[in-house]
């Protein structure tokens, strides 16, 4: 669990920043504004990806050859090959030139193009995070609305308590315990990886194999993250339920269930959905520990590995990709929120 998740959770009721424009006529200006922001963020990310990681301690050439018999000329040749013998400024210009051509350079440790590496590792991370997010959101929203509707019931107390306990756990610790139980003691699920290597499965057996491998990492991510969706949903529904229009709706003779489904839940979904959007970036970053525990071949772990060395091209590449995903989802979240905010559309 990352720190921002928590802060954002405590931010529950206040999802959007307080910019006050509400008229749809200002929508375009709002989008333009946000686009400028996105552009600035992206430029900052590119700048930072280059310079920030240069302050990391460690000599990439020395790290790469650690523990192996190497001689001076080999070290010098490597340094030259990586371009590390050039002045920093020249290196930066070369980096920019390559970046504009879509070339992210070559990883020091893997001796392969960074873009290839990212392509290889992106899918597993997206698979893991989207499946986890989908389950966590569905579960969270369902539990949250049910708990809110029956506020104070045993279901409410139990589900809120459970959610809080899971939410308090260090992700890696919970993952490890699942691993010990299901892979270590019961032997019913594999101990790591994404597919059974060498099995060359296709079709349904492949899917089943994938699901078996997904089970534990997804369970870990869902357990630790569904709480916030459930608590947010619960809080906003409770708030919604005290609104006057619900009393009106009830007075019209609608059943409780209909009131809930047709009126309260849709309105309460709004802030929750926004939070969900804002969390997507955090979810990807949060995959680092889960990927480590379950040997999941994903981008989070790749980034973490790249910090040692440091493998500068790989770090720069993953950082740019990670941050861009987050910037763009945040942008999308802003747009979506503006678009579906009833105070905007009904104005």
């Amino acid at each position: 669990m990352s720190e921002t998740e928590l802060i954002q959770m405590s931010e529950t009721p206040g999802v959007v920043d307080g910019e006050t424009s509400t008229r749809s006529s200002t929508y375009l200006r709002y989008v333009a504004n946000k686009l400028v922001g996105v552009a600035i963020s992206l430029i900052l990310v590119v700048l930072m990806s280059f310079f920030a990681f240069r302050i990391l301690p460690g000599d990439p050439v020395a790290s790469l050859t650690r523990g192996r018999p190497v001689l001076g000329p080999q070290l010098a040749q490597l340094k030259k090959e990586f371009g590390l013998d050039q002045p920093l400024w020249t290196q930066f210009v070369i980096y920019l030139e390559h970046l504009f051509q879509g070339d992210l350079g070559e990883s020091y440790t893997y001796r392969a193009p960074v873009s290839d590496l990212i392509m290889d590792y992106l899918f597993p991370t997206l698979l893991l995070t989207t499946v986890s997010a989908a389950i966590a959101i569905t579960l969270g929203l369902w539990v949250g609305q049910r708990a809110a509707w029956r506020r104070g019931s045993w279901f409410d107390n139990l589900s809120t308590g459970t959610a809080l306990v899971f939410w308090s756990m260090p992700t890696f610790w919970f993952g490890l315990i699942l691993l010990l139980i299901f892979a270590g003691m019961l032997h019913i699920l594999p101990a790591g990886g994404m597919v059974t290597p060498g099995a060359n499965l296709t079709g349904f057996p492949y899917l089943w194999d994938l699901i078996r491998h997904l089970a534990l990492p997804v369970a870990t991510m869902v357990a630790v993250s569904y709480a916030q969706y459930s608590l947010i949903m619960r809080a906003s529904l409770i708030e919604e339920m005290s609104s006057d229009y619900l009393t009106t709706a009830r007075a019209k003779g609608l059943t409780d269930d209909a009131v809930r489904r047709r009126h309260a839940v849709p309105n309460a979904l709004l802030p929750t959905v926004t939070i969900v959007f804002l969390q997507i970036g955090g979810l990807i970053a949060g995959a680092v520990t889960v990927e480590t525990v379950f040997s999941w071949p994903g981008l989070g772990f790749l980034t973490f590995q790249a910090l040692s060395g440091p493998d500068l091209p790989l770090l720069q590449g993953t950082f740019v990709v990670f941050s861009s995903i987050i910037i763009l989802t945040n942008f999308a979240a802003d747009l979506v929120y503006r678009a579906i905010d009833p105070r905007v559309t009904t104005a």
Partner: protein, 548 residues
């Protein structure tokens, strides 16, 4: 897995089963034995290797002396292809194919190390490439080793298929699966549940826990690695310019010896290694036969009292707080840097601090990342640091990194290959002599004399030599030949080769037994420097079809 430019451990591990060299490490102690070459002779600077007759590559082409000569000449002339093994081409004058089965290697100066350790790749594949340095070499690899890579999934696994043309005969097993685990615990669980069949580079706790497990045989072999407490003797660059910020007090050999004498290294073996290792005085440990010596007549045995007395006599008086002061009366406070990310080094540091407190020396613990620790060490910015080296079976490199010439060219520490930034011309002289000495007994004596000087200088307090710990499933693997272990991967793969070979040669009845198993698998797991773990599965040919 480009054998010319590979740098990470996983690539080396994979290269080791795909390519062979003229000479190869051989059981039980890993000494140079026949590889592609059946026999060889040395005459001064000239080494002549006789290749085995009728060697073939995995694609069926002939493997000839021409291939061997091309490989050596390539790393000697193309610096871009000398990244991985440039050190092997360092002292070579010429390499020529005398005839189809004879290679002649002429060195510039005589050397005791056998030059025949370069992995040979097929000339007919590599010679015509436009830029061989960028070739990834992960599909349909052509090699000479028992297995070659046939499929590869980055960061996940590699499938290695048997090479029927291997000179030992076709492996009995159909293929090997190398699997990457990022979490060692998960790997051990996988071994226990039978998902994998071989795992190595285990920790002591994991190893001990596997000892009682069903169908699992733990294997402990000698390691060629030492871990020591390096003391900054006053680092200098190649031209003797002082560099770094080491504490002046450590330039006094009395202090260094006292520190070494205050360390109860046996306790580290017992507690940190759970007894899976050895302790000894110098950088070559007991597994490094025949060069190991206990240096009985010069060793200072563990004794905090003697250390205290030596420091008292040398004029390092204790202050009111029980800590000593240097000769100017300033309190001594030594920084101890170590790799804070693993298990062993933080534990060791927590022993060293109180031990040195016993002799009145204050230590400040400074955990660092392994990269940072190395960088500071290279530029001489440390007082005490935990530093380990794994050596190939031959001691030459272990001595080389302690010669004056391996120090940093400039004060930024870049290109520094020195173990401890130490320099002693007398040591260098002995290093040079053993480097060219071909008589084993004389060379052993020279190596031990050199290390006696190293011991007297108290550059590093050797703490222990960890054993190499592995485990395999007995329901999959019939037999393992132990080779004196150093870079574990190196051995494991050769072990594996031997396993499959011996299984095959034992008798044809073993395949009858095999039929009763659904499939027979052997697995090796390798922790890579970066922390990636790999596993190997070997599958029996017939049974692979059974499963379909």
């Amino acid at each position: 897995m480009n054998p010319f430019t590979m740098l990470n451990q996983a690539s080396f591990d994979l290269a080791q089963i795909q390519y062979e060299s003229l000479v190869m490490p051989t059981a039980p102690d890993g000494a140079d034995g026949p590889g592609l070459a059946e026999k060889w002779t040395v005459d001064g600077n000239t080494w002549t290797f006789e290749l085995r007759p009728d060697l073939k590559w995995s694609d069926g082409e002939d493997l000839t002396a021409e291939d061997v000569a091309w490989n050596y000449n390539t790393i000697m002339t193309n610096p871009k292809l000398a990244i991985s093994n440039g050190n092997l081409g360092d002292n070579l004058a010429s390499v020529t194919a005398v005839d189809e089965d004879t290679v002649e290697i002429v060195t510039e100066t005589p050397q005791a190390i056998n030059p025949g350790k370069l992995y040979i790749v097929p000339k007919h594949i590599w010679a015509d490439m436009e830029s061989p340095e960028t070739y990834e070499n992960t599909e349909d690899v052509v090699g000479s080793g028992p297995f070659v890579m046939s499929a590869y999934s980055r960061g996940v696994s590699a499938h290695m298929k048997a090479n029927p043309y291997n000179w030992r005969g076709a492996p009995k097993l159909d293929g090997i699966e190398v699997i990457s685990y990022k979490n060692k615990d998960a790997e051990v669980l996988a071994l226990k549940s039978g998902e994998i069949d071989w795992s190595n580079r285990l920790t002591a706790s994991q190893f001990d826990s596997l000892a009682g497990a069903a169908n699992i045989e733990p294997v402990e072999t000698g390691g060629g690695r030492y871990l020591g407490l390096s003391m900054n003797v006053g680092s200098t660059t190649l031209d003797g310019t002082p560099m770094g910020d080491g504490a002046a007090v450590l330039q006094d050999v009395v202090v260094r010896k006292a520190i070494r004498q205050a360390l109860d290294t046996q306790q580290l073996v017992d507690k940190v290694l759970n007894g899976h290792g050895w302790t000894g005085p110098e950088i070559l440990g007991p597994p490094t036969k025949p060069y190991y010596s206990d240096y009985e007549d010069i060793v200072d045995p563990y004794s905090p009292d003697a250390a205290n007395e030596a420091l008292d006599n040398a004029g390092y008086t204790k202050g009111a707080d029980g800590y000593r002061m240097d000769k100017e009366g300033k309190p001594i406070n030594l920084r101890l840097t170590f790799d804070g990310s693993g298990a062993a080094e933080p534990q060791i540091a927590s022993f060293i601090e109180p031990w040195l407190k016993e002799i009145g020396i204050k230590v400040t613990l400074m955990p660092q990342s392994i990269d940072q620790r190395d960088q500071e060490r290279h530029s001489g910015n440390y007082d005490l640091t935990l530093n380990g080296w794994g050596n190939p079976i031959d001691p030459d490199y272990m001595l080389y990194i302690n010669t004056c010439g391996s120090r940093a060219p400039a004060a930024d520490g870049a290109g520094n290959g020195s173990a401890d930034n130490w320099c002693d011309p007398e040591f260098d002289e002995l290093y040079k002599q053993q480097h060219v000495e071909l008589d084993q007994d004389k060379r052993t004596k020279l190596v031990q004399d050199a290390l006696s000087i190293h011991y007297e200088a108290a550059v590093v307090a050797v703490l222990y030599y960890p054993a190499a710990l592995q485990a395999y499933r007995t329901d999959r693997i019939a037999h393992v030949t132990k080779i004196q272990n150093d870079f574990t991967a190196y051995q494991t793969f050769h072990d594996l080769t031997l396993v499959s070979q011996e299984e095959g040669t034992s008798s044809s009845s073993s395949s009858g037994e095999g039929a009763s198993w659904p499939w027979i698998v052997a697995i090796a797991a390798l922790v890579v420097v970066a922390g990636i773990v790999t596993i190997v599965v070997i599958r029996r040919r017939q049974t692979a079809t059974d499963r379909e």
